[in-house]
Symmetry: none
Subunit: 198 residues, 4 copies
């Protein structure tokens, strides 16, 4: 009877790698570092992920699916578009506080190391679960007449750029207050920027 299944082992690597990559950076984190953190030999690591790059790509997919799931749940709720914006912002900030490694990985590893994700993650392939849900959110809002019908990417850039910017400032510890306290004003800012214009 195996104490630890292969899938659990893989999950253990994912958790450890996510933490190390987001804290120290992709290049500064070594495979021995990760293996040690999981309590596994270097050689065995390669039974689960065939290269460091492959691991990096699986990680971003993992995060993208996690984010996508959360947004889908919000999309499915029967609430106003303005409330959805608030819910997404809240979820994102909660994640940044509780599972900072995910958002940090997204911002600092994925967005910045083209050379790592170039092959196999071109365009938005590896983040499509997440982007797709954002598209749905936006299209719904436009359909309901709540959002101004503009180019999706402009809206997307605003939304994610804004949140990313704030989390970045938070990570740098230069925000004077906890992230939570910004939820309302930021949601309001986003809504003001995207809402139907008269």
């Amino acid at each position: 009877m195996a104490r630890v299944t292969k899938q659990e082992r893989k999950q253990g690597i994912i958790t450890a790698a996510l933490q190390l990559f987001s804290e120290r950076g992709f290049y500064v984190t070594t495979i021995p570092d990760i293996a040690q953190k999981v309590g596994m030999s270097v050689g065995n690591f390669y039974n689960y992920f065939t290269s460091k790059d492959i691991l990096a790509k699986e990680l971003i997919l993992y995060i993208s699916e996690y984010l996508g799931d959360n947004i889908r749940q919000i999309n499915e709720k029967d609430i106003s578009t303005q409330e959805k914006i608030h819910a997404i912002v809240s979820m994102y900030f909660a994640m940044a506080e509780e599972k900072p490694e995910m958002i940090e990985y997204f911002l600092r590893v994925y967005l910045s190391n083209r050379e790592v994700f170039g092959d196999g993650c071109e365009g938005m392939i590896c983040v499509s679960p997440f982007v797709t849900e954002m598209m749905i959110f936006f299209d719904d809002g436009v359909a309901k007449g709540d959002l101004h019908n503009q180019d999706f990417f402009s809206a997307f850039g605003l939304f994610m750029g804004y949140l990313g910017g704030m989390v970045f400032l938070f990570g740098e510890k230069i925000l004077p207050e906890p992230l939570e306290n910004y939820k309302d004003s930021i949601s309001q800012n986003i809504y003001n920027a995207l809402k139907t214009r008269n």
Copy 2:
């Protein structure tokens, strides 16, 4: 009689390094790569910058000053806050098109490699010329009654996160139209988000 002054030599390195770091990434670019691009020996490189990290820090300061200068010129203009927003967005996008290495360095190298900039660039030290001007812009807008008086960082996060997000999408070549075409809608979005609320 030196044909090329020390300062010019240094500038040559800055230009070359900026390009390589932003195109290939900090860790993938080697000192020999940079030296070769400048047409200089590896050993001589170290007469100008005592380490790779020092070079990286001087680069971000250089960019921050460049950006700060441009924003200051806008701040000094006698135009409305809404026009200033438009001017900053235009300037930023123009830079992203004409000197992409600067913005890319900012987004992909500086923002993502804490381990490199940690020592000596804590907080916003190395980008203060730029941040300071943004503060001035914001305070002026509030003073004039054009902008809603909120936490500076929330406004800053919106502004720079948004622009950064758009330039990132542009860099990934997933924007359906040239950056220029987004100038108006984005300026409008930002203004809507930040303007005085009634």
Copy 3:
């Protein structure tokens, strides 16, 4: 009730290993490669051969016995020495075409990797079944007055070096014609070289 006997299992490994070693080389072939080709687990492989080196040594013995058997059959025939030469050359070339892995293993693995066969295969220990038959062939020819009585190894070197050289050229695909077409001229050359001199 085992469907497959231990001996058959072993033979399966021999066949697979022979093919892989001769095609890819000894060092490039891994135990997992071999196990997979046989359809067996890595761990189980070690129940049949206690190490990669041991396997290599058993393989050369296997080939040597196979070659020896074939030459013995020719030696036992009641034909002229010249016809025997022709028969040996034909057999060797037929093997090179039909079971190239054997000859290739002999030429490329056994002859070249002293460090592998050093311990346990010193001198000609592991190829003695084959060398012995060649000695018998030669002694018979001398006894019958057909062959010039010279040092055995000089004759052996000629015979096997020549054939090995041709098969090597064949393996490199630089022979303009099929191996078969060379049988006659080569047999003739060998006979001319070894026959009684007047």
Copy 4:
């Protein structure tokens, strides 16, 4: 004033590598082994040869040119074809005794590790200086009416296979007498095999 030129350094590596590869085998010899033998750091080794494979290829070219030069000198002599055969055999055996690493490298490293020489040394590219001279020798002999006009490769396979076989037996220390003692009989055998037939 440099004590050691770059070319001399490169030659030092060639000499050391040749010895180690031929004695221990290509895969068993490591770059640290070679570097240590030259008295150089591992990193510096890569300033001279960009990879282990590249080194292997340069070595075979080096040997091929050496062999080719020696045969050319014989080809240019005004002696009979039979004497040329004797001269080539003598030269080859002398090399095998005095610079065994060259012949051994040829026989044990080059001829056996297709996977190493595959790319860039296809066919006979990396040994053409040597093969070309053998072609000249053979064509001259045929032109003079001394050699039987047969397929070049059959003659080449005989000549080189024979010599290779003898040197191999010598290397295995199973020849009862020194190589030298075989010169005459082997030259005679080769001549008998290749000479014009009546």
